[in-house]
Subunit: 410 residues, 2 copies
């Protein structure tokens, strides 16, 4: 009698984006004449950079000849890509890394989800609230979350981020083993200063905790004093794993490539206190359960580090950030309180008159045919907020703002 | 103090192909003038089919325009690919499947490795010996293997496959919860008849066990009475998960695409005996820890089901199978005993005079500059055998055979 992993049964049934899709589809069916604009889901819409397209065509051609054919690549990614990552994303910021500390992947979701494989089931964890649901759900599957009661997991420390603390999570007053941080933040669009981030590194050093630092949106940072990498903080290599994705940096949501940094200095211990290099464990995990990401996607990633590639992906990011500016200014003008959207593609908007997130979502869908993401879907502390993304088309953004204006003025 | 998953420390240090690479590199460094031919590692060498190349160029072009751009795809794979799989790989063989039972992946290694996420740590398991190491190592990481003693894991039932039983694994005389079967087999190149496979399905039905059926090499089957899918056996949908990969079918080792079938009828139970649909758990797992495989790779996979695609991938398979014939006949002529290579790209060769696998490997490397894979690397029952693959270049195959002939005649 094969038994299932019963931790899966604890997972909460409803998935945020599936629920949204259901409601939006129901609306569309009932109102086939209305054009719905989505500022909800976090997927990009602009085509890939010409340098990336060119590199992929070339890579496809490689696969057509025996001389340039590429079969299995290294599970950790091709060295030419790992070197380009070190040079452009780290050395250019004064951070030294060995390419062996870079693990190319098929997107940050896989690695943030699978990293728990390496860690003991009884580690304790802390997350910000609101939060990207994968961090928690993957730990529920791994048996670390405890029991779900009143909207929260019993073994998880939640660090509320709201207006009362300017969205700066308070460091727990007790020891936790694993901390998930995402900056620029999904969903709030807020960033962390070096000073605040240093407090986390110090906390982790003091408690031998591991920080899982999701930097998927770092390419959107505009202010020069905001850290792009946690390794800008001294000694962070001893305590932090950093996740990067090209999904938002370069529109790779459909072609799947990113990378994870696990510094050699990062260790965790056995129950007996023996220090073990985490990178080594991850290397073994990947060699056993992963066969590398597509050669074509890796060539695509390499191309974004070329001079033309850099220029082109910046243009697309500027395009999205101009959307963010338009949304931020339009909603602010309408009297709404808007956070984020300055160094991140996400805007975190307080619902007027403290309306519950889902209520406001439905009202805006019905009243303006504009889709957002209810903030409470990211955690209890997200109640009373909605998330708006700037990944849409410019004209859709402008039209959505006009519609919201008309609707709110009614 | 973050603790590691100590199961990882139980993993045996040396990885077969890394060891081989080390020895081959040492030989090359010492003998820079000698050309070494590898018939060892299981990677393809021939370029992708023209229909696949064309489809990928088209898919790349899609990503260059806003109208045809593809962002996140469904985690389970695009419906057009899932439908093509059902139609061509199943309905054509009289097996009905719902596209919802098909999960597109980035290769069979990920799914055979990750499937254990769904299952309780205390399930018991059986594997053939020899075996593809991922099946065991992923279960070591998952805490299911027990203690490693005398070359075997204490909680694993090993079913020896050797000359004494014509490489047909004997069904355990006790209950196990999980059974790994791979046919056509890696490494032995042997196949299973419908009659033998039915015994396994009956066993699994009787014990509510799950069969993990790795069909990665099914495209190499030549004999019409050998099953391509375990679902050719009545009631197998109740007990079997089937893994497919385009890696060997169509040379996709570098572009990463395959699929896993989890029929809706397949259930496992909670400790209390409640039946749970496994496909549902896998769906949740994939939605949490995976973001789909590259759009370009999925379009590539779709192309192999076109009339031209089918013709072209058959040509490449015929090419490899002609290599297999040449190797089989050459080695047989030299008096060696050769198994496999008739319905599979692998040949399993008995070492002369019962030489240990690694000894023969080294002798052949030194004497003929030909690399094979020592059979013992796949398990104790592989001792005294080597694995030879037919994925090489025709001329290399022919030259390797000439060299082996010269060397053995010395």
């Amino acid at each position: 009698m094969a038994h299932i992993n019963e931790e899966f049964l604890k997972l909460q049934k409803n998935y945020l984006f599936a629920d949204i899709a259901k409601k939006v589809n129901a609306y569309k069916t009932a109102h086939p004449d209305k054009k719905v604009i989505s500022l909800g889901i976090g997927d990009v819409t602009q085509p890939l950079a010409p340098a990336v397209i060119e590199a992929m065509h070339k890579a496809v051609d490689d696969m057509a000849t025996k001389e340039h054919f590429h079969g299995y690549g290294p599970e950790q990614g091709y060295l030419w890509l790992r070197e380009a990552i070190v040079k452009n994303d780290y050395e250019a910021r004064g951070i030294s890394l060995d390419p062996c500390e870079v693990f190319v992947n098929d997107g940050a979701k896989s690695d943030t989800g699978n990293i728990g494989d390496l860690l003991s089931q009884d580690n304790t964890m802390a997350v910000t609230d609101p939060i990207y649901p994968v961090y928690i759900d993957s730990n529920v599957m791994g048996g670390r979350a405890g029991v779900f009661e009143n909207g929260r997991w019993s073994n998880v420390t939640y660090m509320s981020c709201g207006e009362e603390n300017k969205f700066v999570p308070q460091i727990p007053d007790h020891r936790v083993d694993m901390v998930y941080l995402c900056y620029p933040n999904n969903p709030t669009g807020m960033v962390i200063t070096k000073e605040e981030l240093k407090k986390w590194v110090d906390y982790a050093l003091a408690h031998n905790a591991i920080i899982f630092y999701d930097a998927a949106y770092e390419a959107y940072i505009q202010d020069s004093d905001i850290p792009h990498s946690i390794y800008e903080i001294p000694n962070a290599k001893k305590v932090a794993i950093e996740f990067h994705s090209y999904s938002k940096t370069a529109g790779f949501t459909g072609i799947r490539c990113g990378y994870t940094i696990i510094p050699k200095e990062l260790t965790a211990t056995t129950k007996d206190g023996k220090c073990i290099e985490v990178a080594q464990l991850w290397d073994r995990r990947q060699c056993t359960k992963f066969n590398g990401t597509s050669y074509i996607s890796q060539r695509a990633a390499e191309a974004i580090y070329s001079p033309e590639g850099k220029k082109q992906i910046k243009q697309t990011i500027d395009y999205y950030m101009e959307n963010a500016r338009i949304i931020r200014e339009s909603l602010t003008e309408l009297g709404l309180t808007v956070y984020g959207g300055k160094n991140a593609p996400y805007l975190w908007v307080k619902t007027p008159a403290d309306a519950p997130s889902w209520k406001f979502f439905e009202n805006m869908l019905n009243g303006a045919q504009v889709v957002c993401t209810p903030g409470v879907g990211f955690g209890l502390a997200g109640e009373g907020f909605i998330r708006i993304t700037s990944f849409g088309d410019r004209n859709d953004c402008i039209e959505a703002m006009a519609r919201i204006k008309k609707w709110l003025k009614k």
